[in-house]
Symmetry: C2
Subunit: 317 residues, 2 copies
């Protein structure tokens, strides 16, 4: 039995939209899965009743507090031990659930990830990542997309390994091509930090840790011609993510959609995996719709089944 934890109180439209998304997910997850909702039991029951969904299709863990978007993440985590996020992470750390999804406060999810679930031994800094579509039809992984906005070269080097393990175990790519995001393709391009990372990545590739293919320019990350895994610092990665989302929205307003652009629609991608910690955690968009919540639950199931955490623990041994 796989238990997928879902923070029912996280997100701009929680709990209504989260519970609705959970109901939508029920028919999409496998039979051996169970969704565990963390949140206000009465509210959850009342929404389920409105949806015409039997309460016993879920496990519900009653929580009495909510970490708001404006709360200081570290303080809120301590001061609200009965919040849906804090309780969810305790359950995750104790193995009572197999993965956790939340569209709540990014800061609080990161506190739970690093202080309760904790980084895998050997990982300097966990990352948040995102799958981006390519015109070749398959996805590429971009990391970090906002957790570490100042990445030293050794952190970027580890992201190559983390991304490579993810691409192998979750995306099923046998020998993922790992590239460093840069403003030119030549090895001498970039600032000191990027050039230092380039050298470390070459050494790591020679040592057989991953398959480093060199620099990739932002113009080529969506073609799949260069890389399956794209490594960058969180400032640049977050900018790429937001720029792409902005252009997706503009296209959508013009009625320009196709399978490539829909790959940039957060409603279908299901959130960003937190990688490098001892359990599967998926962080959703604050403005998640029910469709986005459903996708996030499915992404969590997929992450659990892929054994990505065990593969990463093995890689960092």
């Amino acid at each position: 039995m796989i238990r997928i934890g879902l923070d029912a109180m996280g997100g701009d439209f929680a709990p209504e939209v989260v519970v609705k998304g959970a109901v939508m997910a029920l028919d999409a997850i496998a039979e051996d899965c169970r969704i565990v909702l963390f949140g206000d039991k009465e509210e959850i029951r009342s929404i389920l009743a409105k949806e015409g969904c039997s309460t016993d299709r879920f496990e519900i863990v009653a929580t009495s507090e909510i970490i708001e978007m404006g709360d200081h993440p570290v303080r809120a985590f301590q001061q609200k031990p009965n919040s849906s996020i804090a309780v969810g992470f305790r359950h995750l750390a104790e193995g009572e659930i197999d993965g956790l999804a939340s569209a709540g406060s990014t800061g609080a999810v990161m506190v739970g990830s690093t202080q309760v679930v904790k980084a895998i031994e050997g990982v300097i800094r966990p990352a948040i990542s995102t799958l981006i579509p390519t015109t070749a039809g398959r996805s590429a992984l971009l990391l970090d997309v906002g957790l570490n906005i100042d990445c030293k070269a050794d952190v970027l080097e580890q992201y190559a390994l983390i991304g490579s393990v993810y691409a192998k175990s979750v995306l099923g790519i046998e020998k993922p091509r790992v590239a460093l995001l840069n403003i030119g393709t030549e090895p001498t391009k970039g600032n000191l930090q990027i050039r230092a990372a380039y050298e470390l990545l070459q050494l790591g590739s020679e040592a057989g840790k991953y398959n480093f293919v060199g620099n990739v320019e932002a113009s080529h990350i969506f073609t799949s011609e260069v890389a399956d895994v794209i490594v960058c610092d969180g400032f640049v990665g977050n900018t790429i993510l937001k720029l792409s989302e902005g252009l997706y929205s503009i296209n959508a307003q013009h009625g320009h959609t196709n399978s490539f652009w829909e790959g940039l629609n957060y409603e279908h991608t299901g959130g960003t995996p937190v990688l490098g910690i001892n359990a599967p955690v998926i962080l959703g968009h604050g403005k998640s719709t029910a469709q986005a919540i459903k996708s996030m639950v499915l992404a969590t199931e997929h992450a659990i089944r892929s054994n990505i955490v065990e593969h990463l623990q093995e890689a960092f041994k």
Copy 2:
């Protein structure tokens, strides 16, 4: 009489395509303009003959060397004093032309800009900038887009002033809204350098130097809802530019075009102005087509007429 200098030997398809573009520009520039071509006189004449264009419609300054893309920019500039770029910049510095456009080696153009034309007194680091389209129909200015990949806070602060002066004098925006590109809208977002820049920008805005409106996320730079001038370091700006170009190409391949997306087509934007130096210089795309060269010539004429250089010199007094 306005003299627009054009490096006829610069670009992947020079001199043919550059001269063709110059011929196309003849009917678009005003009557008081003259295009001055720097390059191999015989080659230029032969291309003009093929185009059925009289040689005397241009001034031609004969040059005998070419700085190749693979050349080391600083060394090439010294070792090839008779190259089209070196001769062009000397003419520009001596006032024999009023502006210079080149689709040649970026590095060599930057050497000419900073060592021959030189930075305006008070400007720490010149910038290269690009006009981006917005869904509101008007353009916004993004800088730096690749010249300074490690920008300290005081350099970013100056870019706010440079961008603001450009938006006023070239784009005709009365009180341009200047924003700092960041990964969140709150003042506390970003790394140390960005937060320090935020503070300097607040002080500069309070002192009346420009109208700083705070942070802008990459998702909102194309809407014109937040800013007319977007300040970032050259690594991030170049990444934004290349990502946008990549997505433009993908859309174009799917036949998705409209006036917004065409604003990202380098063939129409005419290259990136080098700002903060003592003369108008426009840097074109290496792969420029004749249409792109024509746009670059027009952009140079526009830069000369706007007196952007005088306005910047005034602002930094």
